[in-house]
Amino acid sequence: MAETDRRGDRKGYWRATLKLTLSLLGVWFLVSYGAGILFQEYLDQFSIGGAPLGFWFAQQGSIYVFVVLIFVYCFAMNRLERIYGVEG
């Protein structure tokens, strides 16, 4: 099985970790600096409930996404560690 093949492949584990980290940081950037700051004015023409969307991202939405991001990271890292046979 492919999974057993990768046990002990430290370089592969590190590459996979970097890839995961970069994609999650991409989301991190998009919700805060993107939606909350750079595109705030554009997004403000839409609304979520009674709040302008860009403003909402800056004061609420980005924080929710941050929390979810860290737990997704934990989950994905645990999976990587199983695949690569890393003890964690």
Partner: protein, 602 residues
């Protein structure tokens, strides 16, 4: 304070006494028996427990008392604090915490000194850690003094003294172990004290008991959303719209980023992640920490908006009630069809946090912005802390709730102070004494020195708190803490993990460039007479740490490329900390002190 506070003073005393007794009880129970216990709570704190402790460690008197009010005044501009002080945890969880835990030592200067095989690098890191922590702790001790003098009728100096005794108990006796478990208790106190009034004020303003939902709901009993109503109200009075800001987008970007990267580089936050058993635990612990923090940080903007709306609704154009007999005077005004000022305004006026000057002599209070359409002048000045402090009364909650808020504010200040004390004492006893000056010191002696330096740090912090209030510089120097952490500590920790080629020379020049440039810039614009028109690239001192962070990184990389590669031992060490569970001892890096075992699993 007089009758208006009589009942509440009793409750405040009660809550403060009960919570303080609890903190001391925990301190006695969680005594530290070894340096391992004292610096990192024996490395066996459960991730959820550590998450809660980190949340209390992180949320200071400013988060608890001032942030909602700050956002109420700044509107959208306040978002920099919300995103900045939470987004840093993503960086911490993904880029730093698990690797530093895997590295397996006691302090942030430990990592810098050993990864960069240099005593000089360690000393520079100690200087950064001490500067950042002392800056921060002054504000906490001042907060303790203010809470005591404002609510319990205890003189300011005595208030700081009492705070020092309490912190002394659990920080000196229990070290990190005592601090951890008291912080858990303090988190519970502070989050309860914050949410209860928030729920009731949300019900009053929006009919929705959940503040985060009330924030996006309609104003109570009206067909317009709460935020639209607020925008209209503040615009009509000549303020900027609530959902907009006068700052440039680039400045907002830089301030948010400086706060985020600064958060990730703050030693008192980082060391909390040394207390868990493994890298895996460090990751999940950061998630719990941010979840616990988010409970308060998503409530704060709602409280801010509600408070601003309510404040204008009940205070603007209200008839001022002079004299001591509020009830009958208010009745008389109502009988004539007027609107008297609310009772809470009257009681808080005595604290000096609210003031009214009848500039146009009409007996009514006008709240106006700088561009008021009717040309009237603003007559009401409100301290930003008032919004959280007066919330229970605004929401007409019973007297005990305000006692709860006082206990919550003290919990927030004391828990942060304790976390900072641990950084200060370990930087002195471990990094300066054990690792630099007296390398043969025994564990028992080091523990004694650690307790002594914690005691000294408590004293120094108390004195700083006293002076801080006299000089009034606390708010001015917070920019220092985040800017310096972002520009001097964050880059070398990050590069130390993610770039094997980073060497001693690069690290030292990176830290020095970040430290000196950020310090000089902030000093010049805060104390040296610089004016906003001269800001470099239009970036305010609060945001400059982000700009110099890149400069510092670039300098570090260039210098490293021009100087020799780091020893093989160091490169092997970096390989090890990247892959959990593979950490072995490596000559140069671990000569002074071996790594602790990291294989234990929760």
């Amino acid at each position: 304070m007089d009758s208006a506070f009589g009942d509440q003073t009793f409750w405040s005393y009660l809550f403060v006494a009960v919570t303080f007794a609890m903190y001391i009880g925990i301190a006695v129970w969680a005594r530290a028996g070894s340096t391992d216990d004292f610096y990192v709570a024996g490395h066996d704190v459960h991730p959820v427990v550590n998450g809660m402790a980190t949340a209390a460690d992180w949320m200071s008197a400013a988060s608890f008392l001032s942030m909602a009010g700050l956002i109420a005044f700044l509107g959208y501009g306040g978002s920099v604090y919300l995103m900045g002080w939470t987004g840093g945890y993503v960086l911490l969880a993904l880029l730093l915490a698990p690797f530093l835990r895997e590295f397996g030592k006691f302090t942030v200067p430990d990592f810098v000194g050993d990864r960069y095989y240099s005593t000089f690098a360690r000393i520079v890191a100690v200087v950064c850690a001490l500067f950042v922590s002392f800056t921060y702790i002054a504000g906490q001790m001042k907060g303790v003094g203010v809470a005591f003098s404002g609510f319990l009728g205890v003189p300011f100096e005595w208030g700081i003294g009492i705070g020092m005794v309490i912190v002394f108990f659990y920080a000196v006796l229990g070290g990190m172990k005592g601090v951890t478990y008291t912080q858990v208790a303090q988190y519970c106190v502070l989050i309860f004290a914050y949410t209860v009034p928030a729920i009731f004020i949300s019900l009053i303003i929006t009919d929705n008991p959940v503040p985060q939902l009330g924030f996006i709901s309609n104003a109570a009993g009206e067909d317009i959303s709460m935020l639209d109503k607020l925008n209209g109200v503040v615009r009509d009075l000549g303020f900027l719209e609530y959902t907009s800001t006068s700052k440039s987008m680039f400045d907002i970007f830089c301030i948010t980023a400086a706060l985020m990267f600064g958060t990730a580089g703050l030693p008192h936050v980082i060391i909390r992640f040394f207390t868990v058993p493994s890298a895996k635990a460090a990751r999940v612990s950061a998630g719990w920490a941010l979840l616990f923090i988010a409970l308060l940080y998503t409530t704060a903007p709602a409280v801010g908006a509600f408070a601003r709306l309510n404040f204008i609704d009940t205070v603007n154009e209200a008839t001022y009630v002079s004299g001591d007999d509020y009830a009958s005077a208010a009745q008389a005004i109502e009988a004539e069809g007027g609107m008297p000022i609310p009772q809470w305004f009257k009681s808080w006026e005595q604290t000096g946090l609210l003031s009214f000057e009848d500039k146009n002599g009409d007996g009514k209070m006008q709240v106006r912005g700088p561009q008021a359409p009717d040309g009237l002048e603003n007559e009401v000045i409100a301290n930003r802390d008032i919004f959280v402090l007066a919330n229970p009364e605004i929401a007409q909650l019973p007297g005990w709730v305000i006692g709860l808020v006082v206990a919550g504010g003290l919990a927030a200040a004391l828990s942060t102070a304790a976390g900072l004390l641990m950084v200060i004492s370990s930087a002195i006893s471990h990094d300066l004494c054990r690792r630099t000056l007296f390398k043969n010191m025994s564990d028992t002696t080091e523990l004694r020195v650690a307790r002594a330096s914690a005691a000294g740090a408590v004293l120094a912090a108390g004195l700083l708190g006293l002076f801080a209030s006299q000089l009034g510089f606390v708010a001015q120097v917070v920019a220092f803490a985040f800017g310096l952490a972002a520009a001097s500590l964050f880059p070398i920790i990050l590069l130390g993990i993610f770039w094997k080629r980073m060497n001693k020379e690069g690290a030292i020049s990176s830290m020095l460039v970040g430290l000196i440039s950020t310090f000089a810039y902030i000093y010049y614009f805060k104390f040296g007479g610089g004016v906003p028109a001269d800001y470099w690239l239009g970036v305010s001192p609060e945001g400059i740490g982000f700009v110099f962070m890149w400069v510092s990184m670039a300098v570090g990389i260039i210098v490293a490329l021009m100087t020799p590669t780091p020893p093989q031992d160091i490169q092997d060490l970096v390989d090890d900390i990247r892959v959990p569970g593979t950490r072995r001892a490596h000559g140069v890096a671990d000569a002074g002190m071996g790594p602790v075992s990291v294989s234990r699993e929760m």
